[in-house]
Amino acid sequence: MAALFRRPLVRFLLAGAVLAVLHANLWNEAPPPPAPVVVDADTLAALRGDWVRTTGRQPSGEEVDALVQDWVDRELLARAALELGIQHHDALIRRRLIQNQRFLDASALTGADAEPDEQDDLDDGELLARAYALELERSDPVVRRRLIERMREIILSRAAATGTTTPPRALPAPDAAWLRLSHVFLSRDRNGPALRERAASLLARLRETRATPDDTGFETWGDPLPIPGRLPPSSPERLAGRLGPEFAEGLHAAPVGAWSEPIESSYGLHLVWVHERSPEPDANAQTAGSQPATAARDEASLQRALQILRQDVDVIRYDRPHRPPP
């Protein structure tokens, strides 16, 4: 028998069998369930404390359950937002993380090392990368609130547009919002240090003469750019892809039907005339009479989405015996 095991073919086959068993048991398992939501003693105490401060009395058992459910739901929304990668795309979150990381770095430096100029020179991209590496987006309460808010917006706008309340697995199509604009470009390469001055003087002239993009010769007012002066309706993301993220960011403050203040792009400054923006998907456009109906519909959509998020997630409360989901 021992001689049999010494034969290479037999050893080869045995090794194959072992590997096949390992393969079947290790490689083909289903993906792991999501991590449980843990409601620990500190969280419960904080929820009770907030209640007492607001109402002046202790919460009943049912009220505690409702507080916990609300906290769990918010946790699920925050997790869903992180899973979508909103922390990488939302300008407010990015700014907050950069601020936090800058603060952390400054705190870590000793007095001798802490050169203020040095700190100011730190690159935002680097700071952000370090913040992500430290997972600051998971611990900062402001970021958490923003994540929850954005996730609610995404669920509700998706429900309004498509009727589905399944939480999206990917960020919604970037073209959900759009705007149509014309712009007069002033090149950084051509104008050098005089760029801002020239932009201000051109803006003053356009406003003074009540010039609009419909006027003859509009496209010759600025410096040439191989991007049209009159752009077709475009999403902020597509505009960012064409002219840089700072340009898309600057459009937030641009008025409709008037010249904007100079907006920076990757190539220079732009005087922008927004012709129209897509309607906002939120309730602002609703009439007063329809607001309660909209609010009720939104709440129903949100609850249906939360039901889906709650599925398969184990909630562990320290003050209750733990019963895993079926």
Binding site: G16, P32, D124, D189, P224, L225, S235, G241, F247
Partner: protein
């Protein structure tokens, strides 16, 4: 004579018919439709778990996930923990506008067989090897496929594996359909596609081609190299099962990696050794409008050995010259000129002159050839995970040191100038070659040629309108000059290149441009000639990068524009002209990882496991990212 009311009726009917046609299927449907065309950035070379080589490297991405990734979603990649969770994640900083999943048609049925317990052949020794010794299966199964041979477990005529190929092919089509944005936003376009993975000769000279379908009308199964190993038969099958099938199917084919083709990819002969006839050349051109000039496995534009006057031809060159010698210790040879597109385009014009049709009248794109399903992951940074495929697999643990072969790179992007981001508009643009490739960044490049483009066109806000009205865009063929309109009186054709640097993202601003060049190739008798002309920017701008910190220094340009008229133009000579736009130097991915790992080549103790390449003689620590436009052609007598 027609009565007045009858005339009025006819006019009304005519008006209805006319306006009906004008606002029918041909009417623009995307919000950002622009008759002067937008640039759309995408990846037309993406492998997922359906590709056997990717699968044996434990890539688990399915086509659906690859498209999600291309649209901006985070993707988990190998290695995986025993519980199935990924140890690494990747995510694009900017979503793509379009993508095509192009899994290898060869072995796609074998992949399904070996992974499906209920399929016959699942328990064959090859499948047992695949499941237990994937690296051995990678070599053995790909070797068989490169010889156009089926495995025994595929049964008579390969029927079992062909049948098993239906499910993954169906899933590929369904994923493409699911992610095609049919709303007016037109935010993302997909193409059903696959790769025909041919090999020639004992060392597997690369013969690979991606097959991109215009729409959901596709053949029942992908036509693989095993099914049709001769190029002529492959095209005949595509014709029979697609273009001439009467189903609305349309297709184009994009060869890639001639740099690994040993000089055989663009042979002037048919598979049977006969010289290409006019019909052969025309047929090839009709199916192959584009070539992938650069990707994960290097650059195929030009080589310093054959373009010694061109100082930029050393870009992303591979250490070997055919596919087999990537893994075999023998079979490599010195580079040959026909591995690189500069020469291929010249030889195409030679064939055109001889037979009256140009088989190699290619436009350019680039793509990634990712084998992780990570479409468009081209960022040159320390997070680059490698793209797998012909690279070394990561194994069960996080890779130590450099995660890819030293001479590989994150790949490039395909850019298409189209009226809108729809399948038809992009496909039409690819057929007319109005495309360019980049080595990763999103540079914006316009390129027009014509007989009477004004010399001051760069100062005009109507550059694009004038370019289309008075010339042809990239990929076009110059028409014969109208002598009666005084065209060409000022000499040869004029060309304008207008380029913007990549605007970048909030976290990663784009790199300034350094220069714009036009590359001319032409035939003078038997001589194949080439010239590189600087037309804008400053090659001596002194810009560089400190490789110890990867901090760039010096200045560059946000935008560059130049008009150049060919002073040596001879209307009797075939010629091509393409533009090359070059960024300032930056650190290559490998150098960024070396720095992030604190490697100092002066101190051997800092060179950790897997980082030996950082200090090797072959290591090129910097890169000048670039874009290559499709050529504009002059064909005497056009």
């Amino acid at each position: 004579m027609m009565r007045p009311h009858a005339l009025l009726g006819a006019l009304v009917i005519g008006w209805v018919v006319w306006t009906g046609t004008a606002s029918g299927d041909d009417a623009p449907r995307c919000r950002d439709h622009d008759p002067e065309r937008n640039a759309y950035f995408g990846d037309l070379h993406v492998h997922t778990a359906f590709s056997l080589d990717a699968s044996t490297q434990d890539t688990r991405t399915r086509p659906d996930q690859a498209y999600r990734f291309a649209k901006g979603e985070r993707l988990g990649i190998q290695p995986f923990r025993p519980d199935g969770s990924p140890m690494r994640h990747v995510q694009l900083s900017r979503p793509l506008d379009f993508a095509a999943v192009t899994d290898h048609a060869e072995l796609i049925g074998e992949w399904n067989t070996c992974n499906s317990e209920d399929l016959p052949g699942h328990d064959s020794w090859v499948c047992i090897m695949y499941r237990n010794w994937p690296r051995a299966a990678y070599y053995w199964m790909n070797y068989q496929a490169s010889k156009a041979r089926r495995h025994n477990f595929c049964g008579e005529d390969g029927r079992i594996c062909l049948e098993a190929a239906r499910a993954p092919w169906q899933e590929t089509q369904e994923a493409a359909a699911a992610h095609q944005d049919r709303s007016a936003a037109c935010s993302f376009t997909t193409f059903p596609a696959y790769e025909w993975t041919g090999g020639v000769g004992s060392t597997g000279n690369n013969f690979h081609r991606n097959v991109i379908f215009r729409n959901e009308k596709v053949p029942a199964l992908p036509i693989s190299f095993i099914d049709a190993p001769a190029l002529e038969d492959f095209r005949a099958r595509l014709s029979k099962e697609c273009r001439d099938a009467g189903t609305g199917c349309d297709v184009l084919v994009i060869p890639h990696n001639s740099n690994l083709g040993g000089g055989l990819m663009f042979s002037p002969t048919r598979t049977d050794g006969e010289p290409l006839s006019r019909a052969d050349a025309a047929d090839r051109a009709a199916y192959e409008p584009l070539v992938e000039i650069m990707q994960h496995k290097g650059d195929s534009e030009c080589h310093p050995a054959f373009s010694s006057e061109d100082e930029l031809c050393g870009f992303e060159k591979l250490a070997t010259n055919n596919f087999g010698s990537r893994t075999l210790p023998f079979g490599d040879h010195d580079p040959v000129a026909r591995q690189f597109m500069r020469r291929v385009l010249l030889e195409g014009m030679q064939i055109d002159r001889a037979v009256g049709a140009n088989p190699f009248q290619y436009g350019f794109i680039a793509s990634t050839d990712t084998h992780l399903g990570a479409a468009g992951l081209t960022a040159e940074n320390a997070d680059y995970p490698g793209h797998g495929g012909a690279g070394t697999p990561v194994g069960d643990e996080l890779p130590r040191g450099l995660p890819d072969e030293l001479d590989f790179n994150p790949g490039g992007l395909a850019v298409v100038w189209a009226e809108e981001n729809t399948r038809d508009a992009l496909f039409d643009a690819m057929m007319r070659r109005e495309t360019y490739g980049t080595s990763g960044p999103r540079l914006l490049v316009r390129f027009f040629g014509g007989w009477d483009l004004p010399d001051d066109l760069c100062a005009s806000s109507a550059l694009v309108r004038t370019g289309y009205a008075a010339g042809v865009p990239m990929g076009g063929i110059l028409p014969a000059p109208h002598k009666d309109r005084g065209e060409a009186e000022g000499g040869g054709p004029a060309f304008v290149v207008s380029a913007l640097r990549d605007p970048g993202t909030a976290n990663s601003p784009g790199t300034p441009l350094q220069r714009v060049q036009i590359v001319k190739g032409w035939l003078d008798g038997d001589a194949l000639l080439e010239q590189v002309i600087e037309i804008a920017g400053d090659p001596e701008n002194g810009a560089g990068v400190d490789t110890r910190t990867c901090e760039p220094y010096g200045t560059g340009f946000d935008q560059l524009c130049g008009v150049w008229r060919d002073p040596n133009f001879d209307p009797g000579q075939h010629a091509f002209y393409y533009a090359r736009v070059v960024e300032n130097p930056t650190c290559r991915w490998s150098q960024q990882i070396c720095n992030a790992s604190s490697v100092s080549c002066d101190d051997a103790s800092t060179v950790g496991e897997g980082l030996e390449g950082c200090c090797s003689e072959e290591h090129v620590p910097t890169i000048q990212e670039r874009a290559w436009t499709s050529p504009i052609w002059h064909r005497p007598g056009s």
